[in-house]
């Protein structure tokens, strides 16, 4: 790709291809595959010629960037000149002027410029962008843009209570209503010291006087917006050499000053900035890092919501990106290393690092053993729980059985009692029947005897002789 672009660049500038050389830069380390961006620096006989930018998989993004650069050129803002948009291997390549010089972050880091100097230069760029691209707008358009912010926050559920965000929007709206000043401007979207170049040019017409030119580049996130202040906030949040809590020590741009004087207004602007910052990152970060991004933003927004109006104005939430956080941490280490080196302690530091690594290894082994023990414990606990569960089930079953047994016993007792009663009744009835039978038999017998007697007596009565015989026999 770079070789084909080199040929096209040579053609564009009418130079033999052998005179053109290029360096290839990675245009962002935390990007998704889809938005991975390459930057080529082209040189003609070792002198800067032009810069080329292209995306791995996103021609549309580059066309938008080209249009923005075109517009910025037209407004006369301090940005590189548009050179050309060429097509190479099916990808669009944006060619722009090579801004010679170093970026402000590097200059401050190398102590070639002080922080106040760098911030002043950045402020020039900020004001240049804000004033030269300014266009009148309306309250409706402002509210419409606010609604887009709410929509992002709502979609990703960034704010626990969306009402607080709406209140922030209303606060800003009320402020701009009072000021009667609804305007839009082209907002850079990533205005950090790293994206601002300070070039020094010799002004030959005026003898040996040197002229410093401050210009910004990289317009991937630039768009027309009512929220110009996000550029100023981002400058402090994402320039590695600047610290958020130093913000109050510097003079602010005119449009940000009123915010700094009113903590409610400040926190409202900060909240809106946070959501916009999230959407910028979400547009280029890989999908798999989105959950972490959402979580981080939720935490920051939740803190901002909790402390809305309580935080002193001119403070931003401390939330360096992981890379910048590392950068700062390493800066600290580097200072230590340099001091140590001067004091001849570098070897001691080495030993310390090796000890640290060894401890880390031991800890890691212990951690592994601990994890294994933890796993076993969890397994044992699981089994125990299972046994307990079984025990519970058994106990329940036992209770049930016992209850059934009791019920059965009760039933048996009841049945027994009923049987006994029944037997008693039967017995009584039997006795009664027996008695009745006896009585009956007795009666029958009596009756029979009577009747027999009668039968026997009557004929005998009728036969006195016989009666006598009987009587005689009786005697």
């Amino acid at each position: 790709m770079i070789q084909d672009i080199t040929k096209l660049v040579a053609q564009r500038f009418g130079s033999p291809v052998e005179t053109i050389s290029a360096a290839l830069l990675n245009g962002g380390i935390a990007r998704s595959r889809a938005r991975f961006r390459n930057v080529g620096l082209f040189f003609y006989q070792g002198r800067p010629l032009c810069v080329a930018r292209w995306y791995e998989n996103d021609n549309q993004a580059l066309i938008e960037e080209k249009q923005i650069l075109f517009a910025l050129n037209a407004y006369g803002v301090c940005v590189p000149s548009f050179v050309d948009l060429i097509e190479c291997q099916g990808k669009f390549v944006l060619l722009e002027e090579f801004l010679t010089g170093s970026d402000l972050n590097t200059l401050v880091h190398r102590t070639l410029r002080t922080k106040p100097e760098a911030v002043r230069a950045a402020q020039l760029v900020y004001e240049d962008l804000r004033t030269k691209t300014k266009e009148p707008s309306s309250k409706n358009a402002f509210i419409e843009e606010l609604h887009k912010v709410y929509a992002v926050a709502d979609y990703y559920q960034l704010a626990g209570d969306l009402e607080i965000l709406r209140e922030a929007g209303n606060t800003l709206c009320a402020y701009f209503d009072r000021a009667g000043d609804y305007v839009t401007s082209l907002v850079h979207g990533d205005l950090t010291l790293k994206n601002i170049i300070l070039s020094v040019s010799e002004n030959k017409s005026e003898g040996s006087s040197r002229r410093e030119l401050v210009r910004c580049f990289d317009f991937e996130f630039t768009k027309r917006s009512h929220f110009a202040w996000i550029d100023w906030f981002r400058l402090w949040q994402y320039s590695p050499v600047l610290l958020e809590d130093e913000l109050g020590q510097f003079e602010m741009p005119d449009d940000v000053k009123p915010f700094a004087a009113d903590s409610l207004l400040w926190s409202s602007a900060t909240l809106i900035n946070e959501v916009i910052g999230f959407s910028i990152k979400a547009s280029v970060f890989p999908q798999f890092s989105l959950p972490k991004l959402i979580e981080d933003s939720r935490n920051t927004i939740s803190t901002l919501c909790e402390k809305r109006g309580q935080l002193p104005a001119a403070q931003l939430p401390k939330k360096p990106s992981p890379i910048e956080g590392d950068y700062r941490a390493v800066d600290g280490i580097c200072v230590d290393v340099e001091d140590a080196s001067e004091k001849g302690l570098i070897e001691a530091l080495f030993e310390l690092k090796e000890k640290y690594e060894a401890t880390l290894l031991t800890l890691s082994k212990r951690n592994a053993a601990f994890s294994s023990a933890k796993r076993e414990l969890a397994e044992a606990q699981h089994q125990l729980t299972s046994i307990e569960q079984h025990g519970k089930e058994l106990s329940q079953a036992n209770d049930l059985l016992r209850a059934k047994l009791f019920a059965t016993e009760a039933l048996l007792t009841e049945t027994d009692r009923n049987l006994r009663q029944h037997i008693d009744v039967l017995h009584q009835e039997f006795q009664r029947t027996l008695q009745q039978k006896d009585q009956l038999l007795h009666g029958v017998s009596n009756s029979m005897a009577f009747r027999l007697g009668k039968v026997l007596t009557d004929p005998l009565k009728k036969i006195p002789a016989a009666k006598r015989v009987v009587s005689a026999l009786k005697h």
């Binding site: 790709m1 070789q3 290029a22 800067p48 999908q287 798999f288 530091l349 080495f350």
Partner: protein
Amino acid sequence: MLSSNSIVKLTQVVSDADSTNNQLSFLETLVDSHHLAHLQMLAPAYYVFGTRAAAKWRDISDEQMSKVAQRIHAGEPWEEVIHQQTQEKKWVHKIALSPSRSLFLDLLDYSGVRVALDLGAGWGQLSLGLATRVPQVVSVETTKERLDVIHAICAQEDKTNVSFLLGDVFDLPFREGSFDLVLLCGVYEWLGNNGTEDDVKMLQEAALKAVFHLLSPGGKVVIAIENRIGLKYLLGERDDHSKTRHISYLPYQEASAQYQHRYEQSFRARTYDQREYEASLAQTGFISPQFYLAFPDYKLPQVIIPSDQPELLRYVVENIPMPDEHDGSDGSRSFYNEVIKRVYRGINNVDVLQHLAPSFIIVAERPQ
């Protein structure tokens, strides 16, 4: 009746099977006729060749790799799966997922390249990147599990022009001149780890010879590798492979003896400096070697500069923020990061910096 979903799935399966068959057939066209009989089919997707013990580097266990492949094959987004599997190992995570890994592919000229060979394809990023740039790519790996993952990723990305072979560089079945481009990214230095006690340099040059023969006349080899006298190593940063300080820049015999004395093991992951690489390439028959300096290294390059452009290098070092250097064995930030950057600037005017870059991307050509 089949539902429309089932029809889509069925069509997909049929089309996957078709493309697999096409790729297997394509691979067969590259194989030397007397090796054809020795190709073994493994799974439906690739062939296995050779039995030599190759260096089998593993970032994560084979079991984990297999799970990754299964999940990707099942339709989960491959980046998400690898992210979940490797997020605890930040260095592996970056190596496997960062698009920077394949940045250097934009350096190469693909005109006339019909078939490219990615030897030691790792997580497959380069095979994937090549698949969008050249008509056919052959991905070779030494473990089945890695190849499974690369195959799954390519299938998900619909890269039907990638073929797969389980094999190793010392024993490849391909016909002479089969490839127009061969990539050895992070491979050359490990070639001594083949389980033998053979001379490391001899093994490396043997592999280079094998690659030379695989290339078509005019074909190019790309070697991405560390510079043994990179400034960070001179200052005391750990060697990426042996994880040992102050060893890579020593003469090999001395380095080897020290390593043996310290760890009772042979020092077999060997890197070289620019002149030594040039000599090996020339001895093998390669011509026109081009060296690109990769900062902070070839693994995740952020700045790549041709080494024969000293003015360009000077400008970049002076004006562009150079990326942070890291410990190449685990990706942690270099202890000497700030010192390295200062030295780069300090020696910027004496034209030695190109010899002290941390890594090279080397492109050399087989003569016509």
